[in-house]
C-alpha cells in the first residue's frame, strides 16, 4: 500500500509515494528522480548513499521512506548553487582529482559537507575519521582528503573576508 510522505528535499517541499518497506534511498532515486545518490551495497556498509537528513549525515539505505515524514533532506543535487556554480566542495573535488569513477563521490561530498558544517577546521585525522564509513575504491583517499582540506580553507577565508 502506497503512502504519501511529505519532506523538504533540497529546499523544496515534495510528496513521495512510498510503500512502507521502501528505503529512503529507493524513494529518492525512483520516486524522487534523484539518481545522484548511489546504491553501492544497500545494507549500510559502503556510504555511497550518504545524504544529510535534518543536518546529520545518514545512509539513505538504512532509513525508510516513511521515516522521512517532515524531514529536511539534502542530496548531492541540491549542493550546486546554480547550474554553472558548483559548491566549493564540488569545485575542489574537480580541481584536486578527488573523483575518479565517481560512484562514491556524491556520498563522500555529502559526508564532507556535514563534517565542515560542524567543524570548519578539521585536521587530516578528523577528515579521515569522518570518511571512515565511505568506501572509495579508486583514489587511495589522498586526493579526497586534499580536496576537503582545501575546501575548509577556502570556506574559512570566505568567512573572515
Amino acid at each position: 500500500m502506497n503512502r504519501l510522505v511529505s519532506m523538504t528535499i533540497n529546499g523544496e517541499v515534495r510528496e513521495l509515494a512510498v510503500t512502507p518497506n521502501l528505503t529512503l534511498l529507493d524513494a529518492l532515486r525512483s520516486e524522487g528522480g534523484l539518481t545522484g545518490t548511489k546504491k553501492g551495497c544497500d545494507v549500510g556498509d559502503c556510504g555511497a548513499c550518504t545524504i544529510v537528513m535534518d543536518g546529520k549525515p545518514v545512509n539513505a539505505c538504512l532509513v525508510l521512506g516513511i521515516e522521512a515524514e517532515g524531514a529536511n533532506i539534502e542530496t548531492i543535487e541540491g549542493l550546486q548553487l546554480a547550474y554553472d556554480r558548483p559548491h566549493p566542495l564540488q569545485q575542489k573535488f574537480m580541481e584536486f582529482g578527488g573523483s575518479q569513477c565517481d560512484f562514491c563521490t556524491p556520498g563522500i561530498i555529502m559526508m564532507s559537507k556535514a563534517l565542515l558544517d560542524e567543524n570548519p577546521d578539521p585536521s587530516e585525522e578528523e577528515i579521515r575519521f569522518a570518511l571512515a564509513g565511505n568506501i572509495c575504491r579508486c583514489t587511495g583517499y589522498t586526493k579526497i582528503i586534499d580536496a576537503v582540506r582545501a575546501t575548509a580553507e577556502e570556506l574559512r577565508k570566505a568567512k573572515t573576508l
Binding site: D42, D45, Q100, D102, R137, K143
Partner: protein, 772 residues
Amino acid sequence: MNTHERIDADFGDRDFTVVGKSVKRSDTLEKVTGTAKYAGDIALPGMLHAKMKRSNIAHARIKSIDTSKALALKGVKAVLTHQNVPRILHSGSPHPRSASVTKDQYILDDRVRYWGEGVAAVAATSEEIAERAIALIEIEYEPLPGVFTLEDALKPGAPSIHDNGLDQNNVLPPVLVMRGDVDKGFAEADLILEREYDLGRPTPAYMEPNVCVSLWDGNGKLTMWTSTQSAFMVRGTLAEVLGVPLNKVRVVVDHMGGGFGAKQDLFQHEFLCALLARQTGRPVKMEFSRKETFLGGRSRHPGKIWLKQGFTKGGRITAREARVTFNSGAYGSHGPGVTNVGTAALTSLYRCENVRLEGRCIYTNSPIAGAFRGYGVVQTYYALDLMMDEAAEKLGFDPAEFKLMNAVRDGDIAPSGHPIVGHGLEDCIRRAMEETDWHETRKGDKPEGIKRRGIGIGCEMHGSSAYPGIKEQGNAIVKMNEDGTVTLITGTAGLGTGAHTALSQIVAEELGVPFETVSVVQGDTDIVPWDIGAFASHTTYLGGRAAQLAAADVRRQILEHTAPMLEARAEELTIREGLVVSTGGSNRSIGLAEAVGPQRGMPAVQLVGVGTYMPTKSYSFAAHFAEVEVDTETGEVAVLQVVPVHEIGKVIHPIAAAGQIEGGIQQGIGHTLSEDYVIDLTNGRSLNPSFVDYKMPLSMDMPPIRTIILETAPDPGGPYGAKGVGEDPIIAIGPAIANAIYDAIGVRFRHYPITPENVLNALRAKNSETRQ
C-alpha cells in the same frame, strides 16, 4: 601535495601547451554534481525488474526446475531457465582475434559449477515481486563431487568440471616459455633458492554493482545500457548469442562506477536481461546486489608459484625456473590470458638469460577468476621480488642495490619479445633510494619494542596493451566545427580514470587549440568507432594515439584549406592557440572559426579526421618504497608511508596519473594485508560476500603517499611518448610491503594476504625456535 612539481620532464624539445597539465577533467562537473548517468540510473516507462536465482550448491546437475509457482505470482511476466534460453557455447572474455579465449559457458546450463551460479531469472513489475518469484522456483539438484583446491582438481581421476578434452581440469594446455640453458645456469650458481608462494583471492570490489537495462524497439533492435569496460565486446557477443546482426544491437555506457578489469567479461545477467526484455516486449532492468557482485563477479586468480633461481656470489642471476599454477574457478574467463601474461612476465624484470617457465590454469568449483588489474603479474612478480630480497640478504647485498644491479635495461628482450626502451626500472629504483635516503634509513635504530618498524622496496614493469596475446585496435574521429570548436568521437571507454580528458588534451595539443574547445562523444556503439575496450593499461597509449592521429589528419586538412587565404604553402603554416599562423615570414594569421566557417554565403568546409592505431607494446616501470609498523602483540601491520616512483614515458594529466597510482596502491595494500574472498573448502560456499567481511583498506588505513612520476623512457609507440600506468601500482606495492615486514620482524612470508593471525603465528614459531 602538488603533483605538478614532481614531474621530471625529460622528453622532447617541444613546448607543450595542454599535455602535461592538470586541466580540469571534462567529465567531472556532471560527476560531482550527481547528474552523471550510470546504467542503474536509467528508468524507462513500463520497465520491469529482473532477478536471478543462484545455485546453493557448487557442483551439480539440475534434475528438474519447477517454475509454475513463480509464474503464477501476480506481477511476474517471464521466467527463464536452461530449458528456454538459447544454448550457445560462448566465452566469458570475448576478445576477437585472440587465441586465448575459452568457449566454455552457456547463458544457463543444466549443470552448475560454482556456488552462486545463475540457474534461472525472473522479470516482474517490481524488484520485490521478482525476488519473491525467485524464492518460489523449485530446483532439484543431483550433486556431483566438488573440487575446490588446485591439489584436488589436479589429482589423476579428479572429477572433470568441463568436457573440453583436456586432462586434470586444465583450462588450456600448459604455457611453456624457455630461453637459454637453465641446467647450465644452475650448474654455474653459487646459491640456489627454491620456494613456493601461495596467493589468495582478492576481488576488484568496484563500487557500482553490475547492472544493465535492455530495451527492444519496434524494429527488433536492442539497446542495452550496461556497466562494462568493453561495449563492443558486449555488442558482438550479444549479437552472436541472440542471433541478430551487429547493427541491431546498441550498447550504451555513459559512465561506469569502476571495473578494474573484471567488467571486461560478459556476465549472465546481460544475456538474461536482453532475453527477458525481448520475451516480455518491455524494458527490463537487472541489477546485482552487493552480495551477487561478489558471488557472480570475477576475482584475481588465486594460485601457487614454485620458483627456483640460481645466483653467483657476485650477484648475477644464472637461471630461473618456475611453475605457475592458477585457480580459474568454474569457468575459463581470462584464465588463458592471465596465465600467458603472468608466466611470461617471469622472463623479465630482473635479468636472466636462462629461463624455463611453465604456467597452468585449472578449473575448480570456485568463484570465477577473471581479469583484475595486474593480470597475473601481481602474482608472479610478488614471488620474484620477494625471492630477490631474500637472495640479496643471503649474498650480502643491500636489497635495493641488488635489484638495481639486476634490473632490466635498454635493449633487453621484454616478455612480449620486444626490446625494452630506455632504463626506466633503474631510474625508478635510483630515485626511490634517493627520495627516501634509503641507505641512511636502513641504518637507523630499530627499537625492539612492541611495535616494530621496517622498510622495503618492491619493483615491477607492465606492458601497455595486450599485445602479443591480442592484436589491438583503437579508433577516433575528430570533427572540426564551423565555429572553431572540435568534437572528438572516440571508441575508448571511460572507467573513471579521466581517459577522455587525456584524449581531449592530446587532440587540443595536436591541433593547437585551447583544451576547452574540445568536447568528447563516447560510450555509444551506434555512434563511436569500434574499440577493443578499456583494459591492459592501454587507454592513453592506444586510444590516445588514435585520437592524436585523427587530430593530425584534421590539422593537415585545415592547413591545406587555409593556405590560399594566407597566400602561403600549407607547410609554412601552423596552428597556435586557435589561430592559423604563417611561419613563412609574413606573420599573417587567421582565426580558426574564420578559416573553417561559412564564407560569403557558402556553407562551412567539412573537415573530419580519422585515426586508427594498432600498437605493439611498451613497458612502464615502477619501484615502490614502503614503511610498515608491525604490532607484535596484535599482529597488525600498518603501512606508514609509501613512496611510489613510476616511469611512464610522458604524463598527459599529472593529477589523473597520480590518482591511478594512489588508487592502485590502495588495492595493493588490500590484497597484501587483508583482502581475501574466501570459500568453504568443504562445499564451495562463499564465506565473506559483503563489504563488512571482505576487508578493504579505507580512509583510516591509508597512509600518506608521495607520488613521483618520471618521464625518462618515453616510448615511440605512445602519444608524445606516453605509456600506461593503470596496472603498474598494484604490482609493486605488495612486495614492498612484504619486504618491509621482513625488515621489521625478521619473518619472510611467502603468501598474501599477510593477516594479523599469520603474523602472530609466525612470531610465536620464531620465538619458540630461538628458545630451543
